[in-house]
Amino acid sequence: MSELSDAELVSGVLSGNRDFFAHLIDRHRNRVFSVMLTAVGNRDMAEDLTQETFLKAYRNLGSYDSAQAKFSTWLLTIATRLRIDTHRRAKPESSLDRMQEDKGFDPDSGVRTDRGLEQEAVGQVVRDAIGRLPERQRVAVTLKHIEGLPFSEIAQIMGCTVNSAKVHAHRGRNRLAQLLGHIREEGLA
């Protein structure tokens, strides 16, 4: 089973072998979950959204064309759209806000100077900062620097050109550097 390609597993599912889909989930759940976790910053919500992504993929499996995209790229396209749709419905409370209130956290002083923050909490602050980026910048930064995808795939997922994906990543990094307090100056392009 493990030696079957994604495309072979997909045709297996389409010809009635539903269990093959479990292998596709096993192969790709980490990446989808990671993207969702970065997007929503909450494990429960990320699990729900990961499940939604796979259900949606299952329902639309017939429209997947292995000649056009890798299965993971197709899956992340679904995940990205799903995340945009749910984001429009509800904006979760940011834990960056909570931390700033609770611990007197000062973004100007920078995350790393606050020794009281645990490693995981730092991760949460970074996630929240990413969550504050405009949608396309967030997607580009996440897929590039967390998932390590090449820009050709990122462009495919975002439905834009490679150059525009790079511009989004560039702007996202600059904005993030400000949000994380690494840069004070405003108006970086």
């Binding site: 989930i25 970074v126 840069i183």
Partner: protein
């Protein structure tokens, strides 16, 4: 080199298009603002990269597969509900058409009802995926359709009766006049 070009090189390196740049290095030695900026961007990227590799819980696979089965069962239920709704509406329309024929009302009215039923049926099928999978939605549709039919029938019966009365009265007047 100008700072704007240094900025471009920084992006190319962070994008993974360039492994490094001696020209950038020498610019950074003489330009404090670019050096600070480069340091900030590198820290930002390493902060973000540190988020990588959070694994999904293994229970997610059986959970999704279970949801998939539930989804399939729900889809079956939805199909059945659509079938029942469509069937009831066809039946109601047939009864209405039979009644109209028996009442001797012309083909035009029958055609109207046939067209309306057809339109409504395609509407139901188009909505199939959007209607919450509950049968309450379908029950409402069938109810509305029955209401439309009943109102139409009662209305036409009333109009028919008035016309019949009018014709009878005219006939009565005519007979009276010829006598």
């Amino acid at each position: 080199m100008k700072c704007i070009e240094a900025d471009r090189l920084m992006s190319a390196i962070l994008d993974g298009d360039l492994p490094g740049s001696p020209r950038l290095e020498s610019h950074l030695e003489g330009c404090e603002s670019c050096a600070l900026r480069w340091e900030a961007l590198r820290r930002t990227v390493s902060d973000v990269q540190a988020l990588a590799g959070t694994p999904a819980p293994a229970r997610l696979t059986p959970r999704i597969m279970a949801a998939l089965s539930a989804d399939a069962a729900e889809e079956g239920g939805r199909r059945l509900a659509t079938l029942i709704a469509a069937g009831s509406m066809v039946l109601a329309s047939l009864v209405a058409i039979a009644w109209l024929w028996a009442a001797g009302l012309g083909e035009g009215v029958t055609t109207f009802f046939l067209t309306a039923s057809e339109a409504l049926l395609s509407f139901v099928f188009a909505l199939r995926d959007h209607l919450a999978a509950d049968s309450a939605g379908y029950a409402t549709l069938v109810f509305i359709w029955a209401g439309i039919l009943a109102t139409g029938l009662v209305g036409m019966a009333a109009v028919g009766r008035i016309c019949a009365g009018f014709v009878a009265a005219r006939r009565g007047v005519g007979e009276h006049g010829s006598a």
